[in-house]
């Protein structure tokens, strides 16, 4: 789920930060550049781990600030295929479920990956939402907002950035995790224990 990734980055340090210790200033700049962003095929940047080296510090012509080459390690959130992750329900509609980890919301369980046989019932409070129910023998098992749901990752996609976005469409998601629930031991933990 979490990996370390070693990254090299050239950054220009604004002069206003030069009164602070160099490492702190660079760390702050890198955090504002990378944190909570997705790097394609690498994952979501969670936290700075350490800075391995800082080189340079030259002031290039026509620039009013020093440029540094920094090698650092970043904690990345990058689920791998087959991994089991605990998440909470965020949305459910006819196409399936959307789960959330709190810091990452683009997890989708398509309807065909729900346990068989599942069917839709109207949601009690919210007419926009639906309730998915799994019929197991005579039991009616539904997903609620409180319980932790465990899913298995089937794919992690990094869609290309769209050039144009239609008005009113969903915000662009740079990393999309798709999962399944139709296997023993998956779904809300209370189903199994």
């Amino acid at each position: 789920m979490f990996f370390l990734t070693e990254i090299e980055h050239r950054l220009r340090l604004p002069p206003k930060l030069l009164d602070r210790p160099l490492e702190d200033a660079i760390k702050g700049e890198l955090e504002s550049i990378f944190l909570d962003k997705v790097i394609a095929k690498t994952g979501l940047c969670v936290s700075m781990y350490d800075i391995k080296s800082i080189d340079g510090g030259f002031v290039l012509p026509v620039e009013g600030a020093p440029t540094y080459t920094v090698v650092f390690r970043m904690v990345m959130f990058r689920p791998y295929v087959g991994e089991i992750i605990a998440a909470k329900l965020k949305n459910s509609n006819k196409k399936g479920l959307q789960l959330s980890l709190g810091f990452f919301d683009d997890i989708y369980i398509p309807a065909f990956a729900l346990p068989d046989p599942s069917h839709i019932e109207p949601h009690d409070d919210d007419p926009k939402q639906v309730k998915w129910v799994w019929t197991y023998n005579d039991l009616e098992l539904s997903y609620d907002d409180e319980n932790v749901i465990r899913f298995q990752v089937t794919s992690v996609d990094y869609p290309p950035i769209p050039l144009e976005q239609e008005e009113g469409s969903k915000p662009f998601a740079p990393m999309v995790v798709t999962g399944l629930l139709n296997s023993d031991g998956l779904g809300p933990i209370s189903w199994w224990v």
Partner: protein, 171 residues
């Protein structure tokens, strides 16, 4: 930006939680004082509700030592640590190609028992335990009273001891 090593190491949830704690993450509501960014706090909030919350380096080392005999790959070990499955059915989806391993029917149960022994329970499992042992809680409460008394006695002794020292000093 250049990615030098995409995979420079695999971390358990506990290690990430430990890192965030070392930077000052806590349940304290005065978060403005901390050095962490909002997104890091979201990760912390997720991890502190997960199985990682009570784990320690020792318990994870114990777990790895105990699980050597099953020869699981590293990714599966970490997945077990992160999820702390407490029964065979929870464990089954984590183990890949279960049918191809030459295990008896009881191996998964053995593993689940071992996990329950070695790794501390998840927050949701803790609640279940408490419901199950509501009577024990009553007993514990009386125990606490007793310990309070004992502590009070200890204090007395300590204060006596202090007096003794002062007398020594005087002499």
């Amino acid at each position: 930006m250049k990615i030098l090593k995409i995979n420079a190491g695999l971390l358990t949830n506990f290690e990430v939680l430990d890192l965030l704690r070392s930077r000052g993450a806590s349940k304290d509501p005065t978060r403005a004082m901390s050095l962490l960014k909002l997104s890091e706090f979201k990760v912390y909030d997720y991890l502190v509700e997960s199985a990682a919350c009570d784990q320690t380096r020792e318990s994870i080392n114990d777990f790895i030592a105990n699980f050597k005999e099953y020869q699981l790959p590293k990714a599966e070990l970490i997945n077990i640590i992160n999820n702390r499955p407490s029964s065979a059915v929870e464990l089954a989806p984590i183990i890949e190609a279960l049918e191809q391993r030459n295990w008896n029917d009881d191996t998964l149960d053995e593993m689940a028992e071992l996990i329950v022994q070695v790794l501390p329970p998840r927050p949701d499992q803790k609640n279940m335990d408490e419901e199950g042992t509501a009577e024990d809680n009553g007993a514990q409460a009386t125990d606490e009273n007793n310990t309070a008394q004992v502590a009070a006695e200890d204090n007395k002794q300590v204060s006596d001891g202090d007096n003794g020292e002062e007398e020594m000093d005087d002499s």
